[in-house]
């Protein structure tokens, strides 16, 4: 749907900040999250996990566990169907190991029992015989010839012969003549970087409740970013038809991409089918860290050439990503995103995905982009330092704009990067003086943003209120944004609209809440559904007035005769038309179904002031500002919230968060004590500056905003720290010991 540019509209409600409809439930403890529901006769299940990073499962003896009083069912990998589709099969094997345990924490069996204590005790009675195999957890080590082989035969045709068996995927992007580009440079910098795997760190562990009747009908309640995705995957793993499995999304306690797949849901369903009782599974935090998806861990080389006056002449990157023990395409996203902020004549990026004995990667906000852009932005910053150039000026000089051939192929339409950079440059933050010992880091960020399959119903109630039914869990206030757009389009007050998130039996398919898609796509479909309802309401008014449908138009929440020839009738409001709907043809509803495109790419710029304690190596963030193009901010509070929250996750990634594996291949920090996410006292306020450059692909100009904010902090902080300590930092996180070591070595 194209931007309504002809209207040059003044929004009446979009852009205001009303209270969110689910606010009261969420501040009173009434909102029901994944672990908050129970069912009569419910069993509790627990999952046995591999203590080895890599081991052949020789045998599993469950007889003793099964004989225990109160144990109702035990399952292993054999109880799950193996779908033909490779992607689904990988999910099945990740949900429950078959012949091999592929990482520390990989599920090998599960028990359902009448109490959590019995289930836990029964796990101890399961005897698994393992043959421990050599393991590899480091991405570079896994690429070496002779590295332990995680899985065989998984290389796609894109992988050149002669690479390690662990390389599953290779890709290359770019254009122009690199050698000629580098020849034009006055300075070339080439550096290698590493980033640790991090976890989405949602505060709510995965939880679900499944029930299956003897005639094969199943209900599943779970916290997920997409109930329809859960239905598709679970139906395949259960050998069920989609219509027989109804999935209801609970309120969700954070996801950030990590709840776009399944882990425990198929296990609960299989146990429920086996035992004939409802089965609940709640993960512990330890399980969340060990067995659900972290990001890729990476190793990246970047080479950039620049002229004395700050023009980038060529850029090249080689990216090695590991998405854990299964093939993973995230490196493509990194390779495409790496140089997206720049208008380049010569650019090439190459990416490889490498298997390691780590948990299967799951998406995390802008998956693949933060790592690649961190590496590129670090080298750009170093060149600015060497050539004594202002880092924002250099970015403005080289910024991609409308008409730029992007580093990943297509030519950009309207994008907001230049405006964002200029806003950052003009902001008081950029001009504020720094005290001795303090430094300022700058970075750009980018994300593609997606649309996707979306289905919305909008029902006009006889009392003049409206119900919107959509199919995407509300992670951060999206019900409010959807209600605002419906109210705006219909011309009725916000509080007359109620938006609900439907289960899979109540609405057509909706893609998962990912790719920053909800406000964009569900908003677009809601606007279209409202327009559909308006056409129908105009037709009802036409009937009542006895004039042609075309002679009626919708304005300010009412049907009006269009033009002088239509006749003299007083306008009929939505409530008036709705009140007589039974008499004029029955209930009134609008619908829209679409596979939305045109999401429009998103850019952001972050500024970070910090200081580093030379005694301890600890970094303190003093001031932080986020500048981002939101297209149109529907509910500015929640746009700011995405910008602030994403920035802080990026700050955690830059400073502290990492998956630490021991030599035994076991995760050493599977808890919030040792995997340290930012806490309130670590941070200053995060200033969020919203720019509004309308997205040509949305009727209100909306762009996705959720993912881009996690991208710039990695380099913004690393650039700040590098400037503060006078050493170019090349590895994340910048934990105090690592920074201290760099200071000492300098």
């Amino acid at each position: 749907m194209a931007f309504d540019s002809h209207e040059k509209r003044q929004f009446k409600q979009v852009g205001t900040r009303p209270p969110r409809p689910d606010g009261v439930d969420k501040v009173t403890g009434r909102a029901q999250y994944g672990a908050d529901v129970t069912a009569p006769g419910m069993l509790t299940a627990r999952i046995l996990r591999s203590p080895h990073a890599h081991a052949r499962i020789v045998s599993i003896d469950t007889s003793e566990a099964e004989a225990m009083a109160g144990v109702k069912g035990v399952v292993t990998g054999r109880d799950f169907a193996l779908p033909e589709d490779a992607g689904l099969a990988d999910i099945a094997v990740n949900v429950m190991a078959r012949d091999k345990a592929l990482y520390d924490g990989h599920a090998v069996a599960a028990v359902a029992a009448v109490s959590p204590a019995i289930a836990k005790a029964a796990l101890k009675a399961i005897k698994v015989q393992y043959e421990v195999l050599p393991h590899v957890t480091d991405v570079d080590a896994a690429m070496q010839p002779g590295a332990p082989v995680v899985l065989e035969g998984r290389a796609l045709e894109s992988v050149p012969a002669g690479m390690s068996v662990n390389v599953t995927h290779a890709s290359e992007f770019g254009h122009g003549d690199l050698a000629a580009g580098f020849a034009k440079a006055d300075r070339i910098v080439e550096r290698s970087f590493k980033t640790a795997a991090t976890h989405q760190g949602y505060i709510e562990p995965h939880a679900c409740l499944a029930s299956v009747t003897v005639d094969g009908k199943a209900d599943l309640w779970c916290c997920t970013q997409g109930q329809f995705m859960v239905r598709t995957v679970c139906a395949a793993l259960m050998g069920m038809e989609a219509s027989q499995l109804r999935v209801t999304a609970s309120e969700i306690g954070g996801g950030f991409g990590g709840k776009t797949t399944v882990f425990i849901e198929p296990v609960a369903l299989v146990l429920a089918r086996k035992t004939g009782r409802p089965v609940k599974i709640t993960m512990t935090r330890d399980e969340v860290f060990r067995a659900t998806g972290p990001t890729v861990s990476t190793s990246i080389d970047v080479k950039i050439g620049m002229t004395k006056d700050g023009r980038i002449t060529a850029g090249e990157a080689r990216l090695r990503y590991s998405g854990g023990a299964f093939p993973c395409g995230t490196v493509d996203m990194g390779a495409m995103a790496a140089f997206a902020a720049y208008d380049l004549e010569a650019v090439r990026t190459q990416g490889w995905n490498v298997l390691t004995n780590r948990p299967k990667e799951a998406a995390y906000r802008a998956p693949g982009a933060p790592q690649a852009i961190y590496a590129v932005e670090s080298v750009v910053d170093e060149l600015c330092q060497i050539l004594k150039l202002d880092p924002l000026d250099v970015r403005i000089r080289n910024a991609a704009k409308k008409g730029t051939k992007s580093s990943y192929g297509p030519v950009f339409d309207d994008i907001g990067l230049l405006a964002t950079l200029e806003a950052a440059k003009a902001h008081p933050h950029y001009k504020a003086p720094l005290k001795p010992g303090q430094a300022r880091g700058v970075s750009c960020g980018f994300w593609f943003n997606f649309g996707g399959n979306t289905c919305v119903s909008l029902n006009v109630n006889t009392d003049g209120t409206v119900g919107v039914t959509e199919g995407n869990p509300d992670i951060g206030g999206s019900r409010a944004s959807i209600s605002l757009m419906a109210a705006e389009e219909l011309g009725i007050p916000y509080d007359k609209v109620r938006t609900i998130v439907a289960d899979t039996a109540s609405l057509g398919y909706n893609d998962v809440t990912d790719g920053s898609r909800v406000t964009f796509s569900v908003g677009l479909a809601t606007i279209a559904a409202a327009r559909d309802a308006k056409v129908k309401m105009c037709a009802r008014a036409a009937k009542i007035w006895g004039i042609d449908d075309e002679a009626v138009e919708w304005k300010d929440g009412a049907a009006w005769p269009a033009g002088p020839n239509a006749g003299q009738f007083p306008p009929m409001s939505l409530a008036e038309i709705a009140a007589v709907s039974f008499q004029t043809g029955g209930p009134i509803a609008g619908h829209h179904e679409v596979n939305a495109d045109g999401a429009g790419v998103s850019f952001g710029v972050h500024l970070c002031d910090l200081e580093v304690d030379p005694e301890t190596g600890k970094t303190t963030i003093l001031r932080y500002s986020v500048f981002q193009d939101a297209g149109k901010a529907v509910h500015p509070d929640y746009v700011e919230g995405q910008m602030q929250g994403g920035a802080v996750q990026g700050i955690g990634w830059a400073l502290n968060e990492e998956y630490i594996y021991g030599r035994d291949g076991r995760l050493q920090n599977p808890g919030f004590l040792d995997y340290r996410v930012p806490v309130a006292s670590d941070l200053p306020m995060i200033e969020a500056v919203i720019l509004e450059i309308p997205n040509p692909g949305h009727p209100y100009g909306v762009r996705g905003v959720g993912e881009t904010p996690i991208v710039p902090p990695l380099a913004a902080i690393s650039n700040g720290v590098s400037r503060a300590v006078g050493v170019r930092m090349q590895e994340l996180p910048l934990s105090p010991p690592r920074v201290l070591k760099a200071i000492k070595a300098a």
Binding site: E172, G329, M333, A363, Y408, G409, P410, V411, S516, D597
Partner: protein
């Protein structure tokens, strides 16, 4: 005929050409013609690709029209978080 730009690693299956001309009027026709002319591309096309048409990225939209002068770029199937 419409010019289709492929991402770098696909060139291994097109005798090194990054730009291919095909006779196509829609998203689907582009992929069908590519797979016919260069069977080595078929596995990747079957796994899924995105396509940017005049700067706008489409993921599965078979019937999206393509004009002879459209800018068409085939990209990996893209996913977010």
């Amino acid at each position: 005929m419409v010019k289709v730009l492929l991402w770098g690693s696909l060139r291994a299956h097109t005798d090194g050409q990054a730009e291919i001309e095909v006779q196509a009027r829609t998203f689907k026709e582009v992929l069908d013609r590519l797979a016919e002319a260069h069977p080595g591309l078929r596995p990747q096309i079957e796994r899924g690709v995105s396509m940017a048409i005049d700067g706008r990225v489409y993921r599965e939209a078979w019937f999206t029209p393509i004009r002879p002068d459209s800018e068409v770029v085939v990209m990996p199937y893209m996913q977010g978080g």
